[in-house]
Amino acid sequence: MSETFNTRFAGLPAADRRLITGIAAVALVALALGILGGLLTALARGGFLDIVPNTGYRLLTVHGVSIFFYWLFLAQSALLLGFAAAEEGRGLVRRGLAWTGFALMLAGFVFSIAGAHMGVPLLYNGAPELAEQTPGALLVFNLGYLLLGLGLIVLPAAAIVTLLTPRWQGRQQRLSAVGFALFAWAGFLMVTGFAALYTFLPGALWALGLAPFPASHGTSWHIVFHNLHYLPLMAAVILWYVLVRWLTGVKSVFGERFSKIVFAMYLVFVPPTSLYHMFLEPDLPGVVRVTGSLLSLFVSVPTLTAFLIIVASLEVHARAQGGRGLFGWLRLLPWRHPSMAAIAVAVLSMGLGITFAFVLIQEKLAPLLSDTFFVPGYFHFFTLGTVSLTLLAAFACVLPAIGGRPLWRPGLLRYMPWLAFAGLLIFGAAGVAAGYLGVPRRVIDVAYQGQSPALWQGLMAAVAVGGAIMAAALTAFAAGIAAALWPARRPAAEPGGLTVNWGGVTLRPGVTAWVGPLAVLLIVAAMYVFTAVGFELMQSLPIAGSGAGGH
C-alpha cells in the first residue's frame, strides 16, 4: 500500500508538489518559531532564564500564535490539499484557490507575529482589554487572524472541488472513506475560518474607529477556540486512518460506510459540546450547566470510536500475521518507520489528554482549575503529543514521496517521538500537579516575592526541564523531516523494511481484538481516579474558586 501512496504523490503535477512543499515549509517555520517561544517561556517560568515579565508574555504570545494558529492550520492545509490531490492521483483542481488561500495565511502569519511584538503582549487570544491604549497593535494582530480566517475559507474550497470532480465527471458514484473524511475536514475548516472572522473583526473595526469596543470578545473567543481545538484532533484521527493504511496496508475491518459515519460524528458532536466553555460565566443558569456537563461527556465519542476502529483493524491483521498474546501483536507493527513511533506516541498522549480533559470540563472543577497550570499541563498532551506528532508523522510520509528524497536517518528519527513523550510526561505530570496545587497559568514568575509555597517553584522547574526535552526532541524530529523538502535530483526509493503490507490478507472468521476496548476502559478508570483526586485536593484547599475568561 505504501507503494500506491508513494506513486500517487510522486506522480502529482509539479505545480501541486511546489504548493504542498511550500505550505509545509512555512508550517515548519511556524513550528520552529513556536517551539523557540515555548522553550524560552518554560525556562523563564522555571527560573532558569531571568527576563522581565513583559518579555515572557510576548514569548508566550509568539508560542501560542505560531503553534496553535499557524503551525497547526498551515500543516493541516498542506496535508488536506496533498491527500485530496492524491485521492485520484490526478492533482488539484482550481489550484489558484489553494494558492490564494496560502498567500492569505502567509500574510496573516506575518501580521500576527508583527502584532505580537507591538504594544502590550496580547496573548494568543488577542484580548482587546489589553489593547485599550494601543489600538494600532490590536489592528495589526487581528488583521493576521482575519487573513488566516479568509485563507481557511478559500484554501479548502480547492480540496472540495478536487474531491468532487470525479463525481461530476461521472467517474465516481460515492466518495471513498478517506475522500469523505477530507471533504468533511475541508468543510469544517471553512466554518472555522468564518468563526475567526466573526471573533476578530469587531476588534479590528474598533481599532479603526468604525465600531464600539468589542466587550463580548470572550464569548466569541470560546466559539473559535472550541473549533480550533477540535479541528486538529479530527485531522489527527483522519491522518491516523490514512497513515495506518500507508504504513501497513490495513483498511478498516468495519467497512467504509461505518468510517464515514464516525467522521461525520465529529461534525455532529463538536458544536453542542462547546457549552462547557461557559462554565465560568456567573450568570449561566443551573439547567445549562447540567446540560453542558452531560453534553461534554460526548465530546470524545468520535475520537474514541475512530481509535477503536483503527486499533481493532490493526490487531486482527497483525494476528493474521502470527501476532500472539494480548499485546504481542504490537511487535509486528512497522516500528522502524518514524511515523509509526509518532502515531503510537500520539495515541498514548491522546489517552492521557482525554483523561485530564474530562477532569477539567466538569462543572464543579472547571472554575477551580481553568486559570491554573493544569490547563497547559494537560493540553500539551493534545497539541504536542497527539496533533503535532501526527502532523509530523504525515509529513514524514508525504514529503519524501513528493520530493523523491528518502527520509533522513529514519533509524535515528524514530526515537525522537519517544524522547518528546518522555519530556511531555515530565511537563504534564508537573503541570497537572501544579494546577491541582493552585499554580496560576499565564504568570511568568510564580514566586510572588517568596510568599508562594516552595513546591510551586520546584514544579515549575520540572515543567521547564520537561519542556526543554520536548523542544529538543520535536526540533530534531521536525528538522529531520524538513530535510525531505529539498527535492532529490534523482528520485530514490524508500529504504526497504520500513513498512509492511498486510492489505491482501484474508482474515480468519471469529478473530478477536481486545486492546482497543481495554484501552478505552483504562481511560475511563483513569478519568474517575483523577477526578476523585481533584475533588479531594480541592476540598482540602482553604480557598473558594472563582474564575474569569476560559481557555
Partner: protein, 59 residues
C-alpha cells in the same frame, strides 16, 4: 443520493437546529454561536447540494 449526501445533509440540519437554539437562548451572549453554526449549516447545505449533482453511472 447516497450516504455521502445524507451524512452531510444531517450535519447541516443539526447545525441549523443548534443555531436556532442559540439564537433564542435567553441566557448568556450566545448570538455568536448562532451566527457561526447558522453559517456553517448553510455551507454544509451547499456541500450536500454539491454531492447531489453529478452524472449517473460511473464507478
Amino acid at each position: 443520493m447516497n450516504e455521502d449526501f445524507w451524512l452531510i445533509a444531517s450535519v447541516a440540519i443539526i447545525w441549523a437546529i443548534l443555531a436556532l437554539v442559540y439564537a433564542l437562548a435567553p441566557w448568556g451572549d450566545m448570538i455568536g454561536y448562532a451566527w457561526v453554526w447558522g453559517v456553517g449549516s448553510l455551507l454544509f447545505l451547499g456541500l450536500a447540494g454539491l454531492l447531489r449533482t453529478g452524472r449517473t453511472g460511473g464507478g
